[in-house]
């Protein structure tokens, strides 16, 4: 069966309050569509002929379709298609994260070989929740993006195309990723909620969700990260600047912050880029490794849980909260490895063999 | 102290004096400072024809250049007025009202009535009107009747520097929205103007010349044409009374009617198009309220029902001339003037 690539492009990522409080990037819809066109061109160049896309009302698909139409109409393609055929998952659009969940699940069922994801950490988290073993190729559009690597999307498209057409061995093409599972059992009714984070879980004492994004540190108490990269932005930078942990090593890091957030004696004070353009001084009480498979019960007894930078859950003294890091939780396309392999083996020197569409 | 200055200087002086007197007066418009954000001189233009030149040096940021965005800044002037400032917004050419008329007639003009008398909108919108500047159809119109049609607006059109200064000061102090129409061909005209501040009350026509034979009513540039016509007629023994309306809303009906009751003859001169303009308005009012005094049919001298042409030869035909006014007066004096007649 010819490989089909799924695309989840979130039109509403990168619209939150951090644009006001921290001059965060705002990637326009037209630019998101242009990114997809570049990815599509790269996929086509590798022989991918069919793409399945999440429907949305934010305008991305409309722009992409216009781009495809113009390419067909212009002389640039000399009558040849330069893009794969674009198909859309048949499903209603709600404009919420539920769309991402459902589209991912549908694409997995349809047997896509990889999922190109355009969005921030939040979008990637939603995809990761439903993608099973389908590898993710992430492209950053969001604000606080620690998970997707920053890279020209054409390269991500090329790597994905090479990976799914089988020209790079899977052990090179795909990488394993960690996640933290968050379990919240309600003390009131015993109901349980399970959520997950790809990069970080932050516990704050304020118990309301509000504008979701997390950008204040005064109520910040505990931080759990899957990896601690000093090169990324966001709350996980705090961990990265204390003790780097790679994406590909087992386990993560947990950090406790001083209750009043200030710098008292005996407390390490750290200056960290907690959001784009926002440096904050935080007091760190202690930090330690977070081994995989071990459930952590936080010290904070009431507050909110921010997953990958956004407040999602709130909990009280009556509720039971626990956090467990999982190694090898889902797969991603290892763009760097694929491209190195492509170069070393001169994969792009010949004409790729077209593969007939199954659609 | 009184000295001869031009209407342009008089307007500049009125803005200067009012800005000095009242810190809530601000002045905004396209290029009224000129060169904002550019590398050259501050106050590069002082208005497209230099009316506001020099004010920036005296009042700094209270003079504000605007983007070329009439809807936004005229609306902002209206909003600021409703919030306690006294903005004077220059619309450059009043023809441009086409792109911001909503802010003038649906917002500024209606606030007071629509909000039950609880709002005041002391905004002045000043701009150039009138033909004779070789500026063609979109920069030359006398659109005063469009404004006088709207209840809630006051409409002013001075004919000389003295009136321009006093009426602009009154416009700024007035608590209603005022459309201040400046005839661009009068900018250079000089007359005696006191250096002090003074306000000319609205609704008071100026009788420029006494006469018992015929009443000529006009405003703006054509007031001067009417005076020329009256001087020519006087040589033939016809004494025309010339009334300069000065303000079109409110309008001084009493002065017009009292004069017509004495002269029995009326010629109304309006640079606007002939349909539904000040001339028809005044003719109708006099017809309704002083019919018994009329010894002859009312004559109207207006621009033709055409856009303003560009070619100087045509534009000169467009604006009512002293000759056409004198001819109209003669028609009221001829026996046939008493009955309407369609010209052959």
């Amino acid at each position: 069966m010819a490989p089909v690539v799924g695309i989840v492009a979130n039109p509403v990522s990168a619209r939150d309050i951090r644009r006001v409080v921290a001059n965060a990037t705002s990637l326009q819809i037209a630019d998101r569509a242009n990114i997809l066109l570049r990815v599509l061109a790269a996929l086509h160049a590798c022989g991918v002929r069919d793409v399945l896309m999440m429907p949305e009302n934010g305008g991305i698909r409309a722009h992409v379709e216009r781009g495809l139409m113009r390419a067909r109409g212009s002389g640039a393609s000399r009558g040849e298609d330069i893009y794969p055929a674009l198909h859309t998952v048949s499903m209603p659009v709600t404009g919420t994260v539920a769309d991402t969940h459902r589209a991912t699940a549908e694409m997995r069922r349809a047997g896509v070989s990889a999922l190109v994801v355009l969005g921030g950490d939040g979008t990637h988290r939603a995809v990761a929740a439903e993608c099973g073993t389908v590898p993710i190729a992430g492209i950053s559009t969001g604000t606080n993006n620690a998970f997707p690597e920053h890279r020209e999307p054409t390269i991500t498209g090329l790597a994905t195309g090479l990976a799914v057409t089988g020209r790079v061995p899977p052990h090179i093409a795909f990488a394993a990723n960690k996640r933290i599972d968050v379990s919240l059992v309600s003390g009131a009714n015993g109901g349980a909620v399970t959520e997950m984070a790809l990069v970080d879980v932050a516990l704050v004492t304020e118990r309301y969700i509000g504008a979701r994004a997390l950008w204040r540190t005064e109520n910040f108490r505990e931080l759990y990260v899957t990896f601690a990269d000093p090169e990324v932005i966001g709350m996980s930078a705090i961990a990265g600047l204390l003790e780097p942990v790679d994406r590909d090593e087992s386990g993560g890091l947990m950090v406790r912050l001083s209750p009043d957030g200030t710098c008292r004696k005996g407390i390490t004070t750290l200056n960290a880029p907690i959001a784009p353009g926002m440096m904050a001084r935080v007091g760190v009480t202690d930090w330690r490794r977070m081994p995989a498979g071990v459930a952590f019960v936080p010290e904070v007894t009431a507050g909110s849980v921010a997953l990958d930078g956004e407040r999602e859950l709130s909990f009280t003294e009556r509720d039971r909260l626990s956090l467990t890091l999982r190694d090898d939780a889902f797969r991603t396309v290892n763009v760097a490895a694929v491209m190195r392999h492509a170069g070393q083996n001169r994969l792009l020197t010949g004409t790729p063999v077209p593969v007939t569409s199954a659609f | 102290m009184s000295r001869k200055i031009s209407m342009k200087q008089a307007i500049n002086e009125a803005l200067d004096l009012e800005m000095r007197r009242d810190p809530t007066v601000i002045v905004m418009g396209e290029d009224i400072v000129g060169g904002t954000g550019a590398q050259g001189e501050d106050d590069a233009w002082g208005g497209v024809l230099g009316v506001t030149k020099g004010l920036y040096a005296k009042h700094g940021d209270r003079l504000m250049d605007t983007p070329l965005s009439e809807s936004a800044y005229i609306g902002a002037a209206v909003g600021a007025a409703a919030c306690g400032l006294r903005p004077v917004a220059e619309l450059m050419f009043l023809d441009f009202m086409g792109v911001c008329f909503d802010q003038i007639f649906n917002q500024a003009a209606k606030f007071r009535y629509m909000f039950g008398g609880k709002a005041e909108t002391p905004v002045v919108i000043r701009g150039m009107v009138g033909a004779g500047f070789r500026a063609a159809a979109q920069h030359s119109q006398m659109l005063t009747p469009l404004f006088t049609h709207i209840p809630g607006l006051k409409v002013v059109c001075p004919s000389n520097a003295y009136d321009a200064k006093g009426l602009l000061i009154q416009s700024i102090r007035d608590n209603d929205p005022v459309i201040f129409c400046e005839h661009k061909n009068l900018y250079g005209l000089e007359c005696e103007v006191p250096a002090e501040s003074y306000a000319i009350p609205f609704g008071e026509a100026n009788v420029l010349r006494d006469g018992d034979d015929v009443t000529i009513v006009s405003y703006g540039l054509t007031v001067h044409r009417a005076m020329e016509a009256a001087a020519a007629l006087a040589k033939d023994g016809t004494e025309a009374e010339v009334i300069d309306l000065r303000t079109l809303s409110p309008i001084d009906w009493d002065t017009i009617v009292e004069s017509v009751e004495r002269t029995g003859r009326l010629v109304v001169v309006d640079e606007a198009h002939p349909r539904c303009n000040l001339a028809t308005d005044i003719a109708a009012f006099v017809g309704q309220n002083a019919f018994g005094a009329l010894k002859a049919g009312i004559q109207m001298v207006t621009a033709p029902h055409t856009p303003v042409p560009f070619a100087p030869s045509l534009e000169d035909l467009y604006v009512p001339s002293a000759d056409s006014i004198a001819s109209a007066v003669k028609r009221t004096l001829s026996p046939k003037g008493a009955s309407p007649r369609i010209a052959a």
Binding site: - | R21, P194, E196, S197, A199, E204, V207, D210, T255
Partner: protein, 374 residues
């Protein structure tokens, strides 16, 4: 060619802004014998119509000014001469007469026609005429200005140094009146005299200006050489309240014209220009407040607040009282309040603005009084 026995009658210059005048009609026929003060002709300017009176004696040998025609100031309009002067000489005189260059040109070089003085009461505008003789100060009335002395100032300046000022709140002086009472105005006048370096002057006051002059004579007798009170306030309680209210309240020509007409016996003297000038004055910032403050202080409820007649009667200041018999603002019988101590002249056919309506007579009285008192 100059024959001193030939006396030209020229278009007069009334006030500083007059440049031409229209002969409206002759009151004496050619050949009439003329005495000083005889009314020769009527001249109309854009400000006012008035009679030209003879300043010399002789026979009206030639009448040159055509009725209905406008002549520049100083244009020759008639010739007076004794009967024995030959016609040829008169014709030669007429042929060689040249209108002198307009005074404006000369004055433009010599300096402004009006001056301003920075006084304790603010900026005061004034005019100064004449270089020698006694010092005279002309003080106008309520709502007036120094141009009320249009026909007076040059006549007096022939034999005196004459100052005419705009009181605070008036004309082109400072419009704020710190103290809108007679003594407040009197202090302002004295402050003005201090500024221009005048210790003592003959005060000529019209209407409210008369009351100001009396107040000054009572408070600072050393500075008032004599008083000439023309249709003066301060000699009785009565005053036409309608006039005061009308003057203060008028904002239009239509309102103001009938008010101004009460100032003159001959209503026709109120010209379009006079009304326009007063409207322009009344529109100036601060004027309305000034006039209201003064009228409230001096003429509240239609009565004069200060009657100074008895004080002046007791003082030793030489006093002249002049009234127009047809004064409709302040009744002419107020003149009798000083009948026992002052020279009193009531002039028939003139109203409140008697110094304008009967300028020749009033000027003669003033000259005589000042000469005697000095």
């Amino acid at each position: 060619m100059l024959n001193e026995r030939i006396k030209p009658i020229v278009m007069p210059k009334w006030g500083l802004s007059m440049s031409e005048g229209k002969v409206t009609g002759w009151l004496k026929r050619p050949g009439s014998t003329i005495s000083i003060g005889d009314e020769l002709l009527e001249v109309e300017t854009d400000k006012i119509t008035n009679v030209v009176e003879a300043g010399e004696t002789g026979v009206l040998r030639r009448v040159l000014g055509e009725p209905g025609t406008v002549y520049p100031v100083k244009a020759l309009i008639a010739v007076l001469a004794e009967p024995d002067v030959p016609d040829d000489d008169i014709d030669a005189f007429i042929n060689s007469y040249a209108v002198p260059a307009s005074e404006d040109d000369g004055e433009a070089e010599a300096g402004p026609q009006y001056h301003t003085a920075e006084t304790p009461a603010g900026t005061i505008r004034y005019a100064k005429r004449g270089e020698s003789g006694p010092t005279v100060l002309l003080v106008h009335g309520f709502g007036g200005d120094l141009d009320n002395w249009l026909f007076t100032i040059d006549a007096l300046a022939e034999k005196a140094t004459v100052y005419a000022l705009d009181l605070p709140g008036h004309g082109q002086s400072n419009k704020q009146i710190a103290d809108p009472s007679l003594s407040g105005l009197s202090k302002a006048v004295l402050g003005f005299l201090d500024t221009v370096g005048v210790e003592r002057a003959h005060f000529v006051g019209h209407s409210m200006g008369g009351a100001v002059s009396m107040r000054t004579a009572l408070d600072a007798p050393g500075r008032v050489a004599s008083l000439s009170l023309i249709a003066s306030a301060g000699l009785g309680e009565q005053i036409d309240h309608g006039y005061i209210q009308g003057f203060v309240g008028a904002t239009s020509r239509r309102d103001l014209k009938p008010v101004l007409e009460t100032l003159f016996a001959d209503r026709g003297l109120v010209s379009r220009q006079m009304i326009d000038d007063l409207l322009k004055y009344k529109r100036l910032d601060g004027v309305d407040e000034a006039l209201r403050a003064l009228s409230a202080s001096l003429f509240a409820e239609g009565r004069q607040a200060s009657v100074l007649a008895s004080g002046i009667a007791d003082a030793r200041t030489p006093t002249l009282v002049v009234w127009g018999e047809e004064d409709r603002v302040i009744p002419a019988d107020h003149a009798q309040a000083l009948a026992n101590t002052a020279q009193v002249a009531v002039i028939p056919g003139a109203g409140h603005m008697v110094q304008m309506e009967a300028a020749g007579k009033v000027n003669a009285l003033l000259k005589d009084h000042i000469a005697k008192a000095d």
